[in-house]
């Protein structure tokens, strides 16, 4: 059964140095506040896993939390490059970043295999591309019935997965809706899981296209309203597209980045309290 905790407690209990960590959310419901708490608690040597690293991993990478990145699309969506990611890959700053690169289809299936308790998944993927030359976790596999050769990728089983959801009830059952991406698979594939939510309510009214994670499948739930900003939580907030554009300039420059992170992440003492992430929004607008 999931424990209701503060964000700081959740990260302290569940995220360790050297862990393989997945923060998932496909454009929608990206757990930014949890990423910031990981930065504040100065985790190091993380293997970060995520289909679309997005700004949240640009921040973790730029702050030196990561030694390795497993991903399939490392850009600032709708804007361009992730400059901290590029600085790490191209120039090893602040530390070298090892990468393991897949396609979306491959990453999604790796989570599916992880959630399914299987060591690998099979797909029609990567065929003819240069990815298998550089990524050892892409291998051929033959169908035992037809002989046809397909592609295998190994399961992803993060030490901890962190996601953001709209709601939980007091028993710790989690509910999300709208674009729910690969979050169910990422949580079920993980050894431990932390969910930040917009609201904790008495009971979860059913919603169309909902994904419900029963409390016994989650380790901890933390109340963090606005915890997905500058991403969004459908029904609660809209995506702060202006912030994504602003990030381009902030992140191009190492000093500007460091200053921004100090002001908006490191020096925020009351991490996890309601309203914190919303204040950050105002300041950057």
């Amino acid at each position: 059964m999931a424990e209701i905790v503060s964000l700081a407690e959740g990260v302290a209990e569940l995220v360790n140095d050297g862990d393989t960590v997945a923060l998932e959310g496909f454009t929608h419901l990206i757990p930014f506040a949890a990423g910031h708490e990981i930065i504040r608690q100065q985790r190091r040597d993380l293997e970060l896993v995520r289909m679309t690293p997005d700004v949240v991993y640009d921040q973790l990478i730029g702050m030196g939390c990561a030694r390795r990145l497993v991903f399939s699309w490392g850009g600032n969506p709708g804007v361009g490059s992730l400059h901290r990611f590029r600085d790490a890959v191209e120039r090893g700053w602040p530390t070298p970043l090892e990468i393991e690169e897949h396609s979306h289809a491959g990453m999604a299936n790796r989570y599916v295999a992880g959630a399914s308790g299987l060591p690998f998944a099979v797909l029609r993927g990567y065929t003819g591309t240069d990815l298998p030359k550089h990524t050892d976790t892409i291998r051929p596999i033959a169908c035992p019935f037809t002989g046809e050769v397909l592609t295998a990728v190994p399961a992803l089983n993060p030490d901890v997965t962190v996601v953001h959801a709209q709601r939980a009830d007091r028993a710790g059952n989690v509910q999300m809706w709208g674009i729910t991406g690969v979050q169910k698979e990422a949580v079920l594939a993980a050894r431990r899981s932390l969910v930040t939510v917009e609201e904790i309510v008495d009971s979860l009214d059913p919603m169309p296209n909902q994904v419900v994670l029963p409390t016994w499948a989650v380790n901890a739930v933390a109340l963090v309203p606005g915890g997905s900003h500058p991403s969004y939580a459908q029904g609660y907030s809209v995506r702060d597209n202006a912030f994504y554009q602003t990030w381009d300039a902030i992140s191009r420059d190492r000093d500007a980045f460091a200053t921004w992170m100090r002001q908006h992440v490191l020096d925020v003492r009351d991490g996890g309290e309601p309203g914190r992430e919303r204040r950050m929004t105002g300041e950057t607008a």
Partner: protein
């Protein structure tokens, strides 16, 4: 005669015209999404837009600003998980058209969105990477590529094959067992290229109004072949421009 449209608008309109009504189209954000929504608002009202975020049959009334924009989920016929959109909808060949952009495209329609210059471990420019593109290029019945044309983008051989086109020429797709037909058309800001049926090399078949063969040759990193029956595209109609600009204005508003 002065044009009342930009070359980017012409490129978008030319791309939209490629989309037939009633087909299903796998759409990436940016120009593909603009073109697909333009098509849906003009000649193809029953075009089915599929976004890799899991939105099937999205019907946005403004341009979504990200692939996971809330308006896509709100207006979709169905919202499914990311594994499902790739496994049940893209992979088995249920999607007619895939729309891809990129940093480089080569003579044989291979696309690079991974890295430019240096080697993979130490690239000169690190690009975002593959995303959904390799499997879109493999599994959609056909692929439309949209990319601004220059010697740096239209190259003899891509630095990295992120998405497979025709490899090194005829027979490569078949040998690899790829089911989709591959890139059937490449649309740039200068014109349209199509693969030669026998050599699979991209050949200039159409120019946009005002563009010249010389411009196209100068903007291509290989010795560009020009089709015998080279044609000129119709310029954007008033209706196309009005709808396109309204879509853009509506999405810039917030």
């Amino acid at each position: 005669m002065s044009q009342n449209w930009t070359s980017d608008e012409m490129m978008t309109v030319a791309a939209a015209r490629q989309l037939r009504d009633g087909t299903a189209c796998f759409v990436g954000i940016g120009l593909p999404s603009t073109a697909a929504n333009l098509a849906r608002a003009t000649h193809a009202p029953r075009l089915v837009l599929i976004y890799e975020s899991g939105c099937l049959g999205a019907k946005p009334d403004r341009l979504p600003l990200s692939i996971g924009d809330g308006i896509l989920a709100d207006t979709a016929d169905a919202v499914v998980s990311v594994p499902e959109v790739f496994n049940y909808w893209l992979q088995p060949g249920n999607v007619d058209v895939g729309f891809l952009g990129g940093a480089q495209v080569d003579r044989y329609g291979n696309i690079n969105t991974t890295a430019i210059g240096g080697d993979y471990a130490n690239p000169k420019v690190r690009l975002p990477g593959a995303g959904g593109a390799p499997e879109i290029a493999a599994s959609c019945r056909e692929v439309i590529v949209v990319m601004r044309q220059s010697p740096r983008t239209f190259v003899e051989r891509v630095d990295f094959v992120t998405s497979f086109g025709y490899g090194s020429g005829p027979g490569d797709r078949e040998q690899l067992g790829l089911r989709g037909a591959g890139p059937q058309v490449v649309i740039s800001d200068l014109g349209v290229l199509r693969p030669d049926p026998s050599t699979r090399e991209l050949v200039l078949t159409h120019l946009h109004p005002g563009a010249t063969v010389e411009q196209a040759r100068a903007a291509t990193g290989w010795a560009l072949t020009v089709a015998d029956d080279l044609r000129t595209n119709e310029p954007p109609s008033e209706a196309e421009l009005t709808v396109l600009r309204a879509l853009k204005a509506a999405s810039a508003a917030p």
